[in-house]
Symmetry: C2
Subunit: 353 residues, 2 copies
Amino acid sequence: MWNKTRLSTLFGVEYPIIQAPMAGGPTTPELVSEVSNEGGLGIIGAGYFTAEKLTSSIQEVKKRTNKPFGVNLFVVKEQFVSETDLRKSFESLGPFREKLKLPDELPEIKTSLGITELIDIVIHEEVPICSFTFGIPDKEIITRLKKHNIIVVGTATTVEEAKAVEEAGMDAVVAQGSEAGGHRATFIGHSNNGLIGTMALVPQVKDYVHIPVIASGGIMDGRGFAAASMLGAEGVQMGTAFLTTKESGANEFHKRAVLTSTEEQTVITTAFSGKAARGINNYFIHQLTGEGVLIAPYPIQNSLTKPIRSEAMKQGDTRFMSLWSGQGSRMSENTTVKELFGKLVSDINGLLN
Amino acid sequence: MWNKTRLSTLFGVEYPIIQAPMAGGPTTPELVSEVSNEGGLGIIGAGYFTAEKLTSSIQEVKKRTNKPFGVNLFVVKEQFVSETDLRKSFESLGPFREKLKLPDELPEIKTSLGITELIDIVIHEEVPICSFTFGIPDKEIITRLKKHNIIVVGTATTVEEAKAVEEAGMDAVVAQGSEAGGHRATFIGHSNNGLIGTMALVPQVKDYVHIPVIASGGIMDGRGFAAASMLGAEGVQMGTAFLTTKESGANEFHKRAVLTSTEEQTVITTAFSGKAARGINNYFIHQLTGEGVLIAPYPIQNSLTKPIRSEAMKQGDTRFMSLWSGQGSRMSENTTVKELFGKLVSDINGLLN
């Protein structure tokens, strides 16, 4: 049976199909719980959450499902920039504030993303699975989570990163191929080193680690699941496929942009957050790619662009929005999670039985 | 049976496994004939060949096999550069000539790669299959080849390119994912638009064309074949996997570099030829990536760097060689083609039967 992998046993799910933790809106309690109710694993993308927001989200999910689900957190070290550099990055964004009629004032700047308090909530709320992006949390955090029987999952974009995830004692590793939408999870070396396509990444990771490998990047349907399974993955993580579902909290203009885009339209950019991420190319990215623009490190740039992104969403102006998308966007559909799972399971059965 | 696809029937081969047309050395008559003898399709990478070289290569292959094989040609429009720009590109290479103790003189410059004469030879020698890279040949060429019952294959890096290949009347299309080593086949728009990972590219191409799709990029073993097959491909094209075989004519230092490299070490560069290609990062690429360097268009840059690449190969100095490699290099092995096929077929049987 294709769905009985070490990973589905570990997670306690019917299908080893994971909904990617798309931070910043898409992973509503409706989306997360519905994925879990359909037999997959829903994950709350809590990277930017406050403690209150995380608690309420978990409780909302629990109201809607009694199946396993997960929380994803970001591992981000504190960043420093000089006042001059911060000002320069802020000034680069002036024309966008002007176009959106936003006040020309410095927003609240986050130089790091706290994780300790969020971990406490994950433990207190007995969330079954906790995954991490952008790095490996301190040993002490992993030990605490495991002591509370919480499954710990890391994310890797290279073989070296996957080995580091395993060595840290995590239970499974997501191998994120270059096709994936949203942020690159790269944490060792330069992010461009991590642009390995899923077809090449998954079998090489599989050859070097013993923990279950979860394939991600470009997987949109039953064909992608079956292919990942042939490469040695014991599960898949899908983002873009869930982003356009009816339950997803992604902005409607974002959904429409993905649904109508082609595979050629995405680029890797640091313009929105300071970290490399894949999204549909637009005016904002184009303007910030030129010479003389200073992009602040993550998460400072993310704070700087936040008012612009929020206002652009309100106005439905996709020129200034972060339109995260993977390279499989021609295969995206605006269905319900139930319909998506129905098709997935039936297609995989057709291919793998 | 996994090996009975429309493609294997079309090509008349036992296994729909194609050896990629690695121009510039690797595709010796020994390699090509051995791949065909083992039941796959060997292809002579004739993009840079003279008429004489092509004739003798075809005849050498025919002496070694009575199985189908192919010839690959480049579709390249004539390029023009000003004397000043040519001089500037030439000067950028001065330090390399100096290090290799080469005379500081302008080599013979090819501004285009003739195709008509080579097509005549393909027809005269009754080569069963002719594939093309970098574009679509004139309608008249396709018509002539098909009139002589020669199967015509195109190469695409995007859905639009695949549609163009089908519309031109070609019989099959290679979908080249971003993992692939060597030159990007992109011919519509900018080559960076064509950096779609195999996992995302193959199913999307499949959804838009009716002719058989051949997956390439990151496919190194039975797992890759099986995955490609799940994505809807009717065959695979493998380059890096054949480059390191004993029969391959690749320089021994090039082979060793691939065999000992990791998936993170390749980059896309135009430094060697003027066209984007994936190879192991080295001193030459690094030096030509800086500011103020003028890289001539393909194939002019290729002519300019030729003496440097040739001398570097003689001296075994990998700092100045074009070390083409895909992203699956950790899976490369220095076996015979026979051993490679034995393992491939047995692994695919294990996965797909």
